[in-house]
Amino acid sequence: MPTMTVLIDSPPTAPYHVATIAALRHAIDLRVDRSSFVIDVVRTDAVDGIGDAVVIGPGTPYRDPRAAEDVITAARERGIPLVGT
């Protein structure tokens, strides 16, 4: 069950937070295996693992920019799909 980690610090009701999660769901919902995907939304100051894919959401300044960089480094080094917007 692939987990997509969305690193985003804005509140869940913030427009760009809502749009990011919605856009992922739009893409997942077209797939026959849509029920197998998990979206895990975490703040930069609470990240614990990066799952099978990473979204670096909009919204700098981050609460913990070094943690965000560490996630990017890990995704880059491990070949984990990553999108940053």
Binding site: A23, L30, D33, P58
Partner: protein
């Protein structure tokens, strides 16, 4: 992504994002003209992953960005595996990607703002497909 690239690969160990007001070398700086809430026309560079994803040479995207790659350091996005994938009308970098990675794309616009039910933005569609490909038991 740009700061991480600068710090860990491009040899600018004190690279910073100007928004944080930290000491160091600002790689991402305040744009002369804010692009917050603006639609921009981008040109996707041929031969890039992004060109395959879009399937078109140009696109219009919504951006909320007020910061961008500092022009004095623009060379770093053509080094150590990173490449420019799209530029705007002024030739400014709007997207980057890595050629040494299955799927590593960064945009200085927000493709999530151009996605709708039944019509996902191609970047998100490709990203989900790349995630599934990494887990081969998912079809």
């Amino acid at each position: 992504m740009l700061v991480e690239h600068a710090r860990t690969l491009a040899g600018i160990s004190d690279a910073t994002h100007a928004e944080y007001n930290e000491a160091g070398t600002p790689i991402v700086t305040l744009l002369a003209c804010s692009l917050n809430g603006v639609d921009i026309d981008i040109t996707v560079l041929p031969g890039t992953r992004l060109s395959t994803i879009y399937g078109t040479r140009t696109a219009t995207e919504r951006t909320t960005c007020t910061y961008g790659l500092d022009s004095a350091h623009s060379h770093i996005v053509e080094s150590f595996g990173m490449h420019i994938a799209a530029v705007d009308e002024l030739g400014e970098v709007r997207a980057v990607e890595r050629d040494d990675h299955p799927f590593f794309v960064g945009t200085l616009y927000q493709p999530q703002l151009a996605s709708a039910p039944g019509a996902p933005h191609p970047i998100w569609r490709a990203f989900v497909a790349a995630t599934a490909a990494r887990r081969p038991h998912v079809h």
